[in-house]
Symmetry: C2
Subunit: 188 residues, 2 copies
């Protein structure tokens, strides 16, 4: 399983690619930050984020994207821009036929450090240790994106099992999944 | 001036195309609503909105897009989805090289009815009268999108003049505008 983690933002959008499976030490394949010019019009900044994420999807061919689910109560001034950056990243994934998972900051912190209230330094420290990196990834947005990807590598399959169980029970079935049985046994 | 107005949303995204200039009666060229299936995964709903808005840009060739600027305080539950829908609409405009303007609901209400606190019925009534429509556009999202486009036709040029004045004074100059002189006289 190869996951592209995205810590969405307009000024700094963190990204990290991690490969692995539950119960084993994951490997970091890439990490970085997409920056856009604050003096550009909003739609051009969104275009920059979308273009950069599309390029990352082509380069790293992840099997899933994990994006931080941010609640707008946290940081009022930048919440709309953050949501829009997350939206164009999710769009890029849909256009590349890569499924998207959303994880809250506390889910990510709990997965990587065992403490849902860990601070930024603790998250960076644990990401560095878990991935066996020689130096800590900087800035914090890059470390957070790696943490998101690790969280999804470790927790994603469990979430997928829950979703399959929900679909089997007819609960909250996504349309894409419910139409899958029609294709069973048909070679594509 | 031809404006594509967008009242962003995931469940219902209103759109309306209006042609005209300040001080004259504008003409409606098209109106409608893009709906996405709430059972689809979020990234697929954003893909539907982006694809539909891209098709509208190709069909109507507007000179500008006007999107409602929503503040997340208004409707907490759907604010993130609304911001993301607005984000992928703005992205579609940037990809088509169409500039985007953002207007608040009170700006639109004041422009169309003279009252920044007009209710939905009043906005629909005034949109119907101003555009000389035989029947009122429905649902409200479609009427709101037409009102946005009318607002931008009437107010847009004034905003552009303010922007040009600001750029001339070196204030808040968008990079796209400031880099334009480099291309002056060069055929592309």
């Amino acid at each position: 399983m190869r996951v592209l983690g995205i810590d969405p933002g307009l000024t700094r959008c963190g990204w990290g690619v991690v490969e692995g499976r539950p119960g084993s030490r994951p490997t970091a394949l890439g990490v970085g930050v997409v920056r856009t010019n604050p003096e550009l019009d909003l739609e051009l900044r969104l275009l920059e984020v979308h273009t950069a994420v599309t390029a990352l999807l082509r380069e790293h061919r992840p099997t899933a994207m994990a994006i931080e689910r941010v609640f707008h109560q946290n940081n009022k001034g930048t919440a709309t821009g953050t949501a829009q950056a997350a939206g164009v990243a999710a769009l890029a994934a849909a256009q590349a036929d890569v499924p998207v998972a959303w994880h809250t900051p506390s889910e990510v912190k709990a997965a990587i450090s065992g403490n849902g209230r860990a601070d930024k330094d603790q998250v960076t420290l644990m990401v560095t240790r878990v991935l066996g990196l020689a130096t800590a990834p900087k800035p914090a947005d890059a470390a957070d994106a790696l943490a998101l990807a690790v969280c999804h590598v470790w927790r994603g399959p469990a979430q997928d099992r829950l979703r399959v169980a929900a679909i089997a029970g007819g609960i909250g079935a996504p349309v894409r999944a419910t139409t899958l049985p029609r294709w069973t046994g048909i070679s594509r």
